[in-house]
Symmetry: C2
Subunit: 594 residues, 2 copies
């Protein structure tokens, strides 16, 4: 039975009067199950830092002052902060399940995240969101959700699912669902497309995340009027200032992307801009980088380095996000708040001494939850059989808009960037078929959700693969299968190898699978251990380099973005080659059925 | 059919995609229906004050910058602030309906209030709350609600209704209902009484207002753990500091009560305490005082006088309250926010130049709504016939706990205070009946909700009435009929006169009704014009003074609190005389049925 009543409870934990009675009673008596002694406690409300004990009863803080109990932890005078919060992140980009993700970020002091399951939603629709919701229940990491707002992200995306406002109603009622996720399609929004307006109206009573790089003036005003009230895409201080003035909460992002962050933080500090509507997020960050340099704590460190007062950096990393997203029991060390806290060596380096989650000292084993993987998100690769014929790229197709000079359109990658260039080049053909080589690789995008048989084929310059192919089912945002190589045999083997394991990444060289990372969950994630994932990722990159992939870019990441029709300037979809600026096809490949 | 789905929309205004489309389009084009030109605009997000124009489309702000349109208002350089918000108020205490109340506060710049209909709920139960909700719909004043949490306020109160958690479920879903109202019964809360815990659990996912004067230490911690997260009862700076540290939002109150406010504000300013969790409220404030000195703007004035930065005072008066209570479109001048703004001469005196509400310059006639008065809240006086016999106070009853020295218990009022003293005095009796006189008046509390015939009778010293009686149906919190006088005849006439008009206040002298204020709505409010109410109130006070009531206290207010069994030290209910400290009856009058 459909239930449209909003779930109650402490953001996902249903509390009953018996539990509440126990907590109140424990606070009245000062009867703790854990006391953290002698910590410099950061109070986000008064901005004070005072030496005190913190009393915890089960998963609730019951007091700050002088306490003792049988279970004491001596903080030895170091700094106790509320657990840090990542205000915007896509778990799927880590390629691991929520509990593996938790295992990586918790030791860096991140105890809550606000996740937008946009990637899995593009593959599995609302069932994918439900799956993420279930897989992240009752963990030492608090996982909250924003409803993916743009599935598919553009009209050009042939995704596994399309999510309309009506599909969102039931999930909206879940207590860990905080609002509508990043409205990245700001064009539809400011152009008032009906299906987008319906979503904005549905979520008008909740929070709505924005995503509006460089939007300004009237267009920004219109976007704010539409509903989005946060932004994580600022790349310079002036953009921060304009959006803050317009009432947006600013999410300072340091993840895979971190454009202009140092300049922004320095200006914010120098001008004494209020930081109470600013917080931190990673958006996407490689697990390897998180393991090496930290997570939200490394943004706090950067903020202090740029001149932000340490206590304000702590507020930005915790309380400000909790308040902006309405998490009333998160982000502070005070009676009634959740006992998720982190001890740092100092408020400059933010090196973690210890983490407290669920009312006890965090240990790695706390993440051994063993959630059952919902069947809905397994075996999601559903593509028609692929043969050499499907990879054919005939001179007349490629030349549909051929120029008088006999040159043909080519995607050129730019070292170290995700942006591509559209170039026209002289290509080699054999019997009217494009003949790939080391300079001009063949790129194919194979529809894999509904077995339509759609295959887009194009030419890419810059990957420089020789005698091999790379294949991926992680291909933003539609996550069709993308394969690139200099010969059809290796490309077909790479695809076959990927289909066999439910998706992931594979590198093939002369008929041999050199490296493979299976991602059986939606073709995006795996429940394999993090160490194994990282090892296989490194093996994939090494193998790709062996084929000739240049050093400047991660070839896996580059491949994952070649089919995303929102990044300039030219992309390949399962239907053909798109000029992103003009939002029109340069040529369309024939669909299989035609 | 009961509908348990949370109402959606912009806090009470259901928006549809057509309206949203219009607003977005207007913002895109900068096409305003009103432009306020040349104002010093206060930006609560950046703390900047800049000379600019504000563009409004219908009831929505669509931009701040340079604008023009056919309908321009020249602000001539004075200061434009977001409309001010009263974060906690009981409309019923004004004795007028919500639209009359609006007419008084709007000209002082208060454009939104958070009302707790605790008084009418004690008379009419949830039907009273529904009535207030309906009577405050679609007004130029935004009226939000908190659900009265303590009806009745104590086990001693025989009220018109009892509201349990289950009774709250449907009203909780209304979009202007923001949470659970002031949990004044902090004793039941920290003692974990089941019926209170059930309400706290029900509202765990919303805001819960506190009311905990002088609560401190473990008891305060326990109270915070239970759920309340605001407090409007602080009377000194140390109390502010302790509650702020514990995570409570502090509501600085200047209404009928304003204990220690100047000291608190001065210390907050001197110590540079963050004010982002502080806001303003009146709780109860006489209309006459509001008309004379202002409303929330007079608290802002006081704050600046005490050293708070003017922009912070504006934030406290607007944005901070909106944020604390989750009003996402209130409290700021920015695109998408509601066009409720106020122009002040400067940010020191906060004298109102003009008010903008519903997207246009506010005029008094905007409050002429003419809501239909719901029948549920009319004709609420339901008491058994009262005769001289009911007012009898026999020596044996009064002497139930008589002391060996032959002295009898008396309520003594203290000039200028609501607190009373329990005294033992030598009294005069005739035929075993207490004989009232000018010094020792007789006080009676007549149950008026369920015609139980309960009448509590006692002796009060300090009102000094001679040859007359005063009667009221406004008697916190149970709002039974309270009557005081020196002779039974005048007391009976006063009661009769009040019952006849559905409740209110009356003063009788030697068989003549000298003055009367009918309050036909729940015996608490009237839809008569404000001017008439004020005139009749003055006439009542003058008449009471004529009978001998002392100058130090407002005799009507004093009478209204003599039956409230939560204020020290001794009170009379419809069952008998209570020692508030011991929470036990000193004596009980026989109930009529006995």
């Amino acid at each position: 039975m459909k239930n449209n009543t909003r779930e109650s409870g402490w953001e996902g934990v249903t509390v009953n009067s018996t539990e509440l009675r126990e907590r109140i009673g424990a606070a009245m008596k000062g009867a703790a199950t854990l006391v953290i002694k002698n910590a410099h406690v950061v109070n986000v409300f008064t901005r004070e830092v005072t030496l005190a004990d913190v009393a915890v009863y089960e998963d609730t803080i019951i007091g700050v002052g002088e306490y003792s109990c049988d279970n004491e932890y001596d903080a030895k005078g170091v700094y106790l902060c509320p657990g840090f919060i990542d205000a915007h992140v896509h778990i799927e980009s880590s390629m691991v399940t929520p509990n593996s993700f938790a295992r990586v970020v918790l030791p860096h002091g991140t105890t809550a995240i606000i996740a937008d399951p946009h990637e899995i939603a593009n593959v599995c629709g609302t069932e994918g969101i439900w799956a993420m919701y279930k897989m992240s229940n009752m963990m030492p990491l608090w996982v909250y959700f924003m409803m993916p707002s743009c599935v598919p992200a553009t009209p050009f995306d042939n995704t596994g699912a399309r999510i309309l406002a009506d599909d969102m109603r039931q999930l909206k009622q879940k207590s860990r669902m905080l609002g509508l996720g990043e409205v990245m399609d700001y064009v539809s929004t400011t152009r008032c497309e009906e299906s987008m307006l319906e979503k904005l109206v549905l979520f008008e009573d909740m929070r709505i995340d924005g995503h509006a790089p460089l939007l300004s003036g009237n267009a920004l005003n219109a976007y704010c009027v539409a509903g989005p009230s946060t932004d994580h895409e600022c790349s310079c201080f002036d953009e921060v200032l304009e959006k803050l003035r317009a009432g947006m909460s600013i999410l300072i992002r340091v993840g895979s992307a971190a454009n202009g962050v140092r300049e922004m933080l320095t200006e914010i500090a120098d001008r004494g801009l209020p930081t109470d509507n600013m917080m931190f997020c990673t958006d996407d960050k490689h697990l390897e980088n998180t393991l090496r340099e930290g997570h939200i704590n490394c943004i706090a460190r950067l903020a202090v380095e740029c001149g932000i007062a340490p206590v304000d950096a702590v507020r930005m990393a915790s309380y400000n996000a909790a308040r902006a997203y309405g998490l009333k029991r998160q982000g502070a060390i005070a009676p009634g708040y959740r006992a998720t806290m982190v001890l740092f060596d100092n408020l400059r380096d933010f090196n973690v001494v210890d983490v407290f989650a669920m009312g006890r000292r965090y240990e790695d084993t706390a993440c051994d939850i063993g959630h059952i993987l919902p069947a809905d998100v397994l075996n999601t690769i559903n593509c028609a059989p692929v043969s050499a014929r499907d990879l054919s790229l005939r001179r007349d197709v490629l030349g549909a808009n051929a120029r008088a000079d006999g040159l043909f359109p080519v995607i050129r990658t730019i070292p170290g960037q995700l942006v591509t260039e559209l170039k026209y080049e002289r290509l080699r053909f054999e019997d009217g078929e494009f003949a790939a080589d080391e300079r001009f690789n063949k790129l194919a995008v194979i529809e894999r959700h509904h077995a339509t048989g759609n295959v887009g084929v194009g030419v890419v310059e810059g990957l420089q693969l020789k005698d091999g192919a790379i294949c991926a089912s992680v291909a933003h945002d539609s996550h069709n299968i993308v394969v690139v190589g200099d010969n059809d045999e290796d490309m077909l083997l790479a695809v076959e190898s990927l289909v066999e394991c439910g998706g992931g990444f594979a590198v093939v060289h002369r008929g041999i699978v050199l490296a493979r990372l299976p991602l059986p969950i939606a073709g995006l994630m795996t429940d394999a251990p993090v160490e194994e994932v990282l090892r296989k990722q490194r093996a994939l990159v090494d193998a790709a380099k062996l084929l000739g992939a240049p050093d400047e870019s991660d070839p896996l990441v580059l491949l994952s973005f070649l089919a995303l029709p929102v990044i300039p300037n030219v992309r390949l979809t399962d239907e053909g080659l798109i000029d992103v600026g003009k939002t029109e096809y340069i040529y369309k490949n024939k669909a299989k059925g035609e």
